[in-house]
């Protein structure tokens, strides 16, 4: 039944994946389950936990800051994901042309990703400084406009954070570039012979051939954008008037500033459910717009 060779195969397999297996139980699987249990308690870590049942979840429904953080994060995702997608695809197509110096520019376009989130946030804090910042100086001298108080204004703070995030096209762009280079050039040559216009080539060759890569990038960008934390923590601390209170920042504050471990865990679980539902929807819908070479998948 269970041959010696098979036993050895299993033994070695489990031995090699053991570090991951322990890590998965301690750092991923275990926490997902235990955060649900913690979410049923009131717990400051300093005193013993107190059973609340579903009260944390009920409280979420009436918590205005919870809804505010969902709204802020939602707006952020709705603008940043398509924005980054468009900018990085555009840049990838541009930097895929046979132009002189294109390699240098690929490096330059990538650099904002090499810089850490804190450094980028600090740089922008300085650029956007209302009185001494370069951005307002530029607006004043070139357009004669007095710029707003950017991060200090509850109206402009979120748009500022969004614009800062649009600087990091690098990773998405590189993935698009690789995708573009995988498209067989014969397709374009045939289209040229047929006299296809550039727009038609984009619509009927580039987009369908690139659609699996687009799906991957959309997926990654949404996950990343939902986790946005560093720019708001460094630049605005969620303010002014909670106008940049991102979901993860609110979770962090509840857990590590207010020491509400139970409530923070409820937030984490809602986060988990949102990601799960969204992943299922995106994967289910992808069949309709993603084109795989070599037929249906």
């Amino acid at each position: 039944m269970f041959s010696k060779a098979k036993f050895k195969e299993n033994l070695w397999g489990y031995l090699f994946i053991m570090p991951w297996l322990i890590g998965f139980i301690l750092l991923w699987g275990g926490p997902v389950v235990s955060s649900f249990i913690i979410s049923l308690y009131r717990w400051s870590i300093l005193d013993p936990p107190k059973w609340l049942g579903t009260k944390n979840y009920e409280r979420l429904l009436t918590d205005q800051l919870f809804w505010q953080s969902l709204k802020v994060t939602g707006i952020y995702i709705i603008v940043v994901v398509p924005g980054l997608l468009f900018l990085s695809l555009f840049s990838a197509m541009l930097l895929n042309q046979k132009l002189r110096g294109v390699r240098l520019f690929r490096t330059i376009y990538y650099t904002p990703v090499v810089v850490s989130g804190v450094v980028l946030a600090v740089a922008w804090l300085w650029l956007l400084s209302p009185d001494y910042g370069f951005v307002n100086y530029f607006l004043r001298t070139v357009f004669g406009i007095e710029g707003p108080r950017w991060l200090n204004s509850s109206f402009w703070a979120l748009p500022s954070v969004i614009v800062v995030s649009l600087w990091r096209i690098g990773t998405t762009m590189v993935i698009f570039l690789a995708g573009l280079q995988e498209i067989p050039s014969q397709l374009y040559e045939v289209a040229d012979i047929d006299g296809a216009k550039p727009l038609a080539k984009f619509r009927y060759i580039t987009l369908p051939m690139l659609s699996p890569v687009i799906l991957f990038n959309v997926f990654m960008l949404i996950i990343e954008s939902f986790q946005v934390f560093t720019p708001v923590y460094v630049m605005t601390e969620g303010g002014p008037h909670y106008s940049t209170l991102m979901y993860v920042l609110y979770l962090y504050n509840n857990a590590f500033v207010f020491l509400k471990m139970g409530y923070a865990s409820a937030l984490a679980w809602v986060f988990f459910m949102i990601m799960l539902v969204f992943s299922v929807i995106l994967l289910k819908s992808s069949g309709r717009w993603v084109f795989y070479q070599g037929g249906e998948k």
């Binding site: 997902v32 993935i175 690789a178 040229d192 984490a268």
Partner: protein
């Protein structure tokens, strides 16, 4: 790369109007994207007079190279760098070593439940870390590891990230089984094959993981923020944030520190760009 196919150039390629427009867009985009970093460097080199000058000067005069030394003295930045190096290098070793072990396990052995486990590996790539941060904190606190590097380093020794395992497994699958089988006949055990065959054959892939790991851990802010409390334990990124929170920020010093905090990643990026780009490309395109 697709350079092998000769392009049919219809018009005189170098100066057609379309190409000029493309050049203009490419350069404009580059200037916009690099500007915050250039401005940061210029600010770092300004003395207090040219910093206060209006209109702002693009090029600082006199150039204050000493800012880079003086900025380090405001806060214990030397300690922050030391801490960042300890954390980053330890994580890098852990990430490379254990993700290679795990990836080897997934690619060489057909053990019970392998495919399900691999789906779980992939799912950890999609699951935000923040979902698990509260139980992690409670667990590590129970171990007495809060305000300690262990909560940052230990996870790297437990398989690293799903992303690294995925990347290396793809690479290992490309190594023909015949080579391993030949080594087996020569009396090499599974671990010997891993150590003496797979690792040397995968140097480029391992370099990619090492670079990713270095960049990620050097730049990470969230995890150190959660686990490190006292100043003596701060990493560079936490130090920068602390510097900024001070009353009356000296922008030149802040920018000088920000530039120095970026330098290690810049250097690695410029020298190892090829590995880096290959690694990223592999994730999105291959399957």
């Amino acid at each position: 790369m697709g350079h092998s196919i000769p392009q049919i150039q219809k018009k005189h390629s170098n100066f057609s109007p379309i190409r000029i427009v493309l050049y203009v867009i490419m350069i404009a985009g580059g200037v916009i994207l690099i500007f915050p970093i250039i401005w940061m460097l210029m600010t770092a080199l300004k003395g207090s007079e040219s910093l206060a000058a209006y209109p702002p000067q693009l090029f600082p005069w006199p150039v204050m190279w000493r800012n880079f030394i003086d900025a380090l003295k405001v806060l214990p930045f030397a300690t922050f760098y030391k801490n960042s190096l300890i954390v980053t290098i330890s994580c890098m070793i852990g990430d490379v070593l254990t993700s290679a072990l795990v990836a080897y396990g997934f690619s060489r052995f057909k053990f019970y439940g392998r495919d399900i486990f691999f789906i779980l590996v992939l799912s950890t790539m999609l699951l935000p870390l923040q979902v698990t941060i509260v139980p992690r904190f409670i667990l590590f606190r129970r171990f007495g590891w809060v305000d300690n590097f262990w909560p940052i380093i230990v996870p790297a020794f437990l398989g690293g990230s799903g992303f690294y395992i995925f990347l290396l497994r793809q690479f290992f699958l490309g190594i023909p089984n015949e080579i391993a089988d030949a080594a087996k006949i020569d009396g090499c055990g599974p671990f010997g094959i891993f150590w003496r065959l797979y690792l040397p054959l995968s140097k480029p892939a391992l370099a990619t993981i090492a670079i990713f790991s270095f960049m990620y851990n050097w730049n990470d802010f969230f995890v150190p923020l959660v686990f490190l409390n006292s100043k003596e334990k701060y990493t560079v990124q936490l130090g920068l944030n602390l510097f900024m929170d001070q009353y009356n920020v000296d922008w030149s010093y802040l920018m000088a520190n920000a530039i120095m905090a970026t330098l290690p990643c810049f250097i690695i990026f410029f020298f190892a760009q090829r590995f880096f780009i290959q690694g990223i490309s592999m994730t999105g395109v291959k399957e």
